[in-house]
């Protein structure tokens, strides 16, 4: 009985101290994350004015979204995110696999090569792609001097350029989680599969791929979700004919007359979609895990 009282007291003390320890973070998140989001939520239900908002409740923004007026940017963004993720998986998997199977020393060097691009500012990297892909840019010069083409290719300011740069930027986010899963993979399992009659291809699909699912999940989260809200890359290398959600939101605030409620509603819709995606993936992942843990 006495011991119980002590335990309860000790537990209370522990709870209190963990609350105190998390207080700074909680304050930070409340001030700079929760409050701004609340403002966005409130703004989305107000009426637009030329520069600011009128404090008059209006569901007009949501009405327009549900009427399908903004379906195209959403579809474009989803398409971009899906393409980017798929290409990242296809390109990232062999790289991650190769690094995971490399000798320990080489492995670290290769990982550094994957991480090095992060040392340069994103915008600078995107601008170098613009120079590289431009009509009179490095790529076209090279291809012409190699005699492969006679007139320069128009790559800049196309959807292809957007996907290209998106993949370039997000590939490391796919490779790193894939690598950390594949590094833990016991490669004698592949020997065992081959021993039991599976050739290299069958061994890959029945052993390597299922055991890399966790890495693919993690990589997909890290690539798909930011791709959905992509703004910078489409803005810098894309064209104005296909506007992605991120760009539309920005224009609603940037262009006069401004439409804060519309921008807020679009942001929240995007957030909601991402949340739904996360929930679906979480559910799928739980199912995948549960299948392994059921007895």
């Amino acid at each position: 009985m006495n011991r119980n009282v002590h335990q309860v007291k000790a537990e209370r003390r522990r709870n209190l101290s963990s609350w105190l320890l998390s207080l700074p973070t909680m304050l930070w998140l409340t001030a700079f994350f929760l409050v701004p989001y609340l403002i966005v939520v409130i703004y989305s239900f107000l009426s637009p004015d030329i520069y600011d908002v009128r404090f008059e409740v209006s569901l007009d923004a949501y009405r327009q979204i549900f009427a399908g007026n903004y379906l195209r940017p959403f579809l474009l963004s989803f398409k971009l995110a899906i393409y980017t993720t798929l290409i990242c998986i296809l390109l990232g998997f062999p790289v991650a696999y190769y690094i995971a199977r490399a000798k320990e020393k080489l492995r670290n060097t290769l990982l550094i090569f994957i991480i090095i691009p992060f040392w340069t500012n994103l915008i600078i990297r995107i601008f170098s792609w613009r120079i590289f892909l431009a009509y009179n840019g490095v790529l076209n010069d090279l291809l012409i001097s190699a005699g492969l083409i006679s007139t320069p290719l128009e790559i800049m300011r196309t959807d292809l350029a957007v996907i290209l740069v998106m993949v370039y930027v997000y590939l490391p986010y796919m490779i790193l989680p894939l690598y950390s899963t594949l590094e833990k993979l016991d490669f004698t399992l592949l020997n065992a599969a081959m021993d039991l009659g599976a050739n290299e291809v069958k061994a890959f699909f029945s052993i390597t791929l299922p055991l890399a699912v966790e890495g693919i999940f993690a990589g997909t989260l890290l690539v798909f979700i930011p791709s959905l809200g992509a703004y910078l890359i489409p803005q810098l290398v894309g064209n104005q004919r296909s506007l992605y959600v991120g760009q539309v939101i920005t224009y609603k605030i940037k262009n006069i007359p401004r439409n804060w409620p519309m921008a807020s509603a679009l942001s929240l819709t995007l957030l909601l979609l991402v949340a739904v995606m996360l929930l679906i993936m979480y559910y799928l992942f739980r199912k995948h895990k549960a299948r392994r843990l059921q007895s």
Binding site: T188, G197, R292
Partner: protein, 392 residues
């Protein structure tokens, strides 16, 4: 069912020669084991038979068909891996069914054969569990079932019991023998554990530095080692090197330096005919030597030496005595049998008699070199000291 034939088989990894011109025929249906210290090339040899390593030279055939360059999935050979390598994302059932599913067998056949296999390894009630939910011994059984379901000509076992604890190991050893009897195919077993190899094999090959040092039935190798390595690696032994002083009709006499200037006369039966004056090594197993504080009755075919007990190691089933005879040291095993009425236990520094039958010594036409006892400088009766002083 066909024999496995290894011809002139070699494998090098750069400058390191892992397997060195091995020639061997393994009879069909046999339980054959490779025994050797780590790094002797036994696992590389097994991996070449499985198809995971391509030989640098030589040929592997099963019967008349050569399989040297076939990929693993085209060989009628299956392997039990050291850590079992069960697929962690599949149930026990799916693990066992893997081989048949790859071959696209009909569902009913798969279900039935998996059930047969799980019954063979006594795991029929665990089919829906995942590998991380079963014990080490059970994983072992599943690995066996998963391999045998493919009806291979040969089953390769790479240190299959190394990860199990002692009791389970002994139990699984018997189980493995029973399974071998039940399926009747060739088992090739690789181990560094001599008691495992000796108890399980029909034939075993002792390997050292990529070469097969000796092969034959376990008792043959234990009782009649062909080389100092065989004698020393399998079990424990006393190695005595000396000069042949006389050759009689059915025994020879050997003198060996004991440091006191005087020679020890040791009679031995012989299978080789060494000429007098030749240096020869004699292997004498510790359990063949009797130890007593009373002098035994002198007999023709009994060797007798007087020594002093230097160390006593109580080992439960037996006691090991280290007995100094002049400059030589003998290891002697003595079992604790009360029927001898040897009432008072032997003690340190006590003078004792060592005696053994002369057919229990075995001649080896080889002289130990220093490098043989790197791990055991005191080993083999302190032979090292003679080697160092250049007397042998």
């Amino acid at each position: 069912m066909e024999n496995i034939i290894l011809e002139n088989l070699s494998k090098d990894f750069g400058a390191f020669l892992a397997v060195d011109k091995v020639n061997l025929e393994i009879k069909s249906g046999e339980l054959f084991s490779f025994l050797g210290p780590s790094g002797c090339g036994k696992t590389t040899l097994l991996r070449m038979i499985a198809g995971f390593e391509i030989p640098s030279q030589g040929k592997i055939s099963i019967g008349n068909s050569e399989i040297t360059d076939l990929p693993p999935y085209k060989r009628e050979v299956n392997t039990i891996f050291q850590n079992y390598s069960l697929f962690p994302h599949m149930t026990v059932f799916d693990n066992v069914a893997f081989g048949l599913r790859i071959k696209k067998r009909p569902k009913d056949e798969i279900r039935q054969r998996v059930h047969e296999m799980l019954t063979l390894v006594k795991m029929e009630d665990q089919a829906l569990k995942y590998p991380d939910q079963i014990s080490g011994g059970q994983k072992q059984r599943i690995a066996i079932a998963r391999a045998l379901i493919n009806k291979p000509q040969v089953l390769l076992l790479d240190e299959p019991l190394a990860a199990l604890d002692l009791k389970l190991r002994q139990h699984m050893l018997i189980e493995l023998m029973n399974i071998h009897d039940a399926v009747g195919i060739t088992f090739i077993y690789v181990t560094h554990d001599q008691s495992e190899a000796m108890s399980i094999s029909d034939t075993m090959a002792v390997m050292n530095q990529g070469k097969i040092v000796q092969s034959g039935p376990p008792d043959d190798i234990y009782e009649r080692p062909a080389s100092i390595f065989s004698a020393y690696f399998i079990g424990e032994t006393n190695l005595i090197t000396g000069e042949v002083t006389a050759v009689h009709e059915d025994y020879i006499e050997l003198s060996c330096p004991d440091g006191s200037g005087k020679n020890l006369e040791i009679d031995s039966s012989f299978h080789v005919a060494p000429a007098p004056g030749r240096q020869i090594t004699l292997s004498l197993r510790p359990e063949k030597i009797a130890i007593s504080r009373n002098k035994p009755r002198a007999m023709d075919d009994i060797n007798m030496l007087k020594g002093v007990i230097e160390d006593i190691l109580y080992l439960g089933t037996h006691t090991q005595y280290i007995v100094r005879v002049g400059k030589l040291k003998f290891r002697v095993f003595s079992q604790h049998k009360r029927v001898y009425f040897d009432d008072k236990a032997l003690d340190w520094e006590e003078s004792v008699w060592l005696f053994w039958h002369d057919t229990d010594t075995w001649l080896i036409e080889e002289i130990p070199s220093e490098s043989m006892f790197i791990d055991d400088p005191e080993g083999a009766s302190g032979l090292q000291r003679y080697v160092k002083r250049g007397k042998i």
